[in-house]
């Protein structure tokens, strides 16, 4: 992105990659000894990484500004809440609900995708924003089904083959595994021919059509896959909180996920991780400053955008680079 030419892997890059991996492993290993508050923050970071990975497909790869991503998060969360709680009297296991939520997510993604296929830029942003609000308002008012603003409580814990996920530490491991799996799939997707087609659409939609890309199908695939990841995040969130209400799915959540991508580095998986870490951690660290907290957060973000307009992580620093030290030693 900067300068444009692929730079060779330097010793510095290798050292940074090595240090980051070691830090991540040390952090993960110390989780069992951490107080619950810290683990909850880590869980929250992982949830947002998951959401960021999903939204990054639409915004980062395909270049479509989607401001209603929280809708898919809500769909996943309510799917789990309705199918594993006394609300409807249905008590399905996690591993059955997950595929259902995935299918519903994909369908919702395509449902949003179809009307906005012809829209770009500002118009797309407005319509997707509306979609996010519609889903929230719908949940808020469908009292019989969703219990309206009071939300759904007493949601079951996740139970995978007799293994109960109950404490924040258990959830951490579940989220970590999910994040790693999703990140690998998204990374492989990015390098597949479909990923390249998305980027071609982002760069020049008409030229992409001109080389024979069916942009309709490619965009719907982006919306569908991205919504599926959002839905998965919702399922885990719902099982982790054991309570969902429309309040968790406001427009602000969508904005936060977009910010994670923009601050981290658009179109870069490592950017999403950096962005989520920073945007979840900062408000926690600034808690001591009470009323100045939001002001400081805003200033910091403005500062970051000025200093690093392309995001915290440069586009050239890909997961390939992160693991470069393993191959060239």
């Amino acid at each position: 992105m900067n300068g444009g030419t692929a730079k060779p892997v330097t010793l510095g890059t290798k050292l940074i990659g090595f240090a980051l991996i070691v830090a991540a492993i040390v952090l993960a290993c110390s989780v069992p000894y951490m107080p619950n508050y810290y683990v909850r923050v880590l869980d929250s970071i992982l949830i947002y990484i998951l959401l960021g990975l999903g939204l990054n497909i639409v915004i980062g790869y395909a270049g479509l500004l989607d401001l209603g991503f929280v809708a898919f998060y809500a769909i996943g969360a309510y799917t789990y809440a309705l199918l594993a709680s006394p609300q409807m009297g249905i008590h399905l296991p996690f591993l059955v609900i997950l595929p259902i939520a995935c299918v519903l997510g994909v369908l919702a993604g395509i449902l949003l995708g179809i009307p906005v296929l012809r829209l770009r830029g500002d118009y797309l942003a407005i319509v997707t924003l509306g979609f996010g609000e519609i889903i929230r308002v719908l949940i808020n008012n469908a009292d019989a089904l969703t219990n309206g603003p009071k939300g759904i409580a007493a949601i079951h814990r996740i139970d995978i083959f007799g293994l109960t996920i109950s404490t924040p530490k258990d959830v951490f491991w579940l989220l970590l595994v999910t994040c790693i799996l999703v990140a690998i799939i998204v990374w492989r997707l990015q390098n597949s021919i479909l990923g390249k087609a998305w980027m071609a659409i982002r760069e020049d939609q008409d030229a992409a059509k001109g080389i024979g890309i069916n942009t309709t199908n490619a965009k719907l695939a982006a919306f569908g896959i991205s919504a599926m990841i959002g839905s998965i995040a919702g399922v885990i969130f719902s099982a982790f909180q054991r309570f969902v209400s429309p309040e968790s799915f406001t427009f602000q959540e969508s904005v936060l996920i977009v910010l994670i991508i923009v601050i981290g580095g658009i179109g870069n998986i490592l950017g999403v991780i950096a962005g989520a870490t920073m945007l979840i951690l900062l408000p926690e660290l600034l808690r001591d400053y009470a009323e100045f907290r939001m002001l400081l957060l805003g200033l910091l973000m403005a500062f970051l955008i000025i200093v690093r307009p392309h995001g915290l992580v440069p586009r050239s620093f890909t997961p390939d680079r992160l693991f470069a030290w393993m191959r060239f030693r």
Binding site: A6, S192, A200
Partner: protein, 279 residues
């Protein structure tokens, strides 16, 4: 096998850009389309590539009407094009710019690419080997990993032409390929285009550069006010009195056309140095 325009007209409101044009393009030949600004040259290319709808008439590829097809379907039918203002996938590598053209062929195997690493690697290597041959042909192999927008203007042109060739089209439409190129680059362009001549390929070049058209092309089509004025070999067209009167006219007019061509080049040259505007 041919590309045929049958009584094609294009109106923009009350402006008639193309007026009842009937033309047949045969494979194995290089066609040049000339005419003053606003004669409807680019309109013709845009209609053939599906960028513009046509107001009346029909465009046939091998007898099959293509004017109702969507843009990507036209591309899949074997019509490839370049643009007047170069339109590359700027923040993608030079190699990716070519590789992505194989999407229609490989999209069915995407899931396999994601879940079977060995398949993905084999596919990617096969695609890149195919594209590398084109990069070599256009002397771009050293820049394979660069972002497309870091290439010089002349090399961007070459890349755009290479991109149009990835899926071995049957019709190649080039919209002012020499615009913005200096003298040396134009010569190089001419050699590369001449080298592309194949018995099954229809090449159509819209160009202001008379020298390029007259030396490269086998047939020259002259448009005037959207209508077909003449078509024939370069010698025939240059000798055609109608063309001379209406378009080439006196020696002065040839000079004025040259001047126009030069000023357009200068304009493009400026554009190269300007920052890319992103929307």
């Amino acid at each position: 096998m041919s590309l045929e325009f049958k009584n094609v007209s294009k109106r923009f409101g009350s402006v008639i850009a193309t007026d009842d044009v009937s033309l047949t393009f045969e494979p194995g030949l290089i066609y040049g389309i000339i005419g003053p600004n606003g004669a409807g040259k680019s309109t013709l290319i845009n209609m053939a590539a599906g960028s513009y709808s046509i107001s009346s008439g029909s465009i046939l590829l091998d007898g099959r009407p293509i004017e109702k097809l969507k843009k990507h379907e036209i591309s899949l039918a074997g019509i490839a094009r370049t643009y007047q203002n170069i339109r590359l996938f700027e923040q993608m590598s030079v190699m990716d710019n070519l590789e992505v053209c194989l999407y229609p062929r490989d999209v069915g195997g995407v899931w396999k690419e994601i879940f079977v690493p060995s398949y993905a690697r084999a596919k990617r290597e096969e695609r890149q080997a195919h594209c590398r041959r084109l990069l070599e042909q256009f002397a771009l192999e050293d820049a394979a990993d660069w972002d497309a927008n870091s290439l010089s203007y002349g090399r961007q042109r070459m890349l755009e032409i290479a991109r149009a060739l990835v899926r071995e089209p049957r019709v190649l439409l080039l919209d002012e390929p020499a615009a913005g190129l200096n003298h040396g680059e134009t010569l190089e362009l001419k050699q590369r285009l001449a080298a592309l001549r194949r018995p099954e390929l229809i090449m159509i070049v819209v160009e202001h550069d008379m020298d390029l058209v007259m030396t490269l092309c086998d047939r020259v089509v002259v448009l005037h006010h959207g209508a077909l004025l003449a078509m024939g070999t370069p010698a025939e067209v240059q000798a055609n009195e109608q063309v001379q009167q209406a378009y080439l006219g006196t020696i002065d007019d040839i000079e004025s056309i040259r001047a126009v061509a030069q000023s357009r080049k200068a304009e493009r040259g400026l554009r190269v140095n300007a920052d890319t505007v992103r929307h």
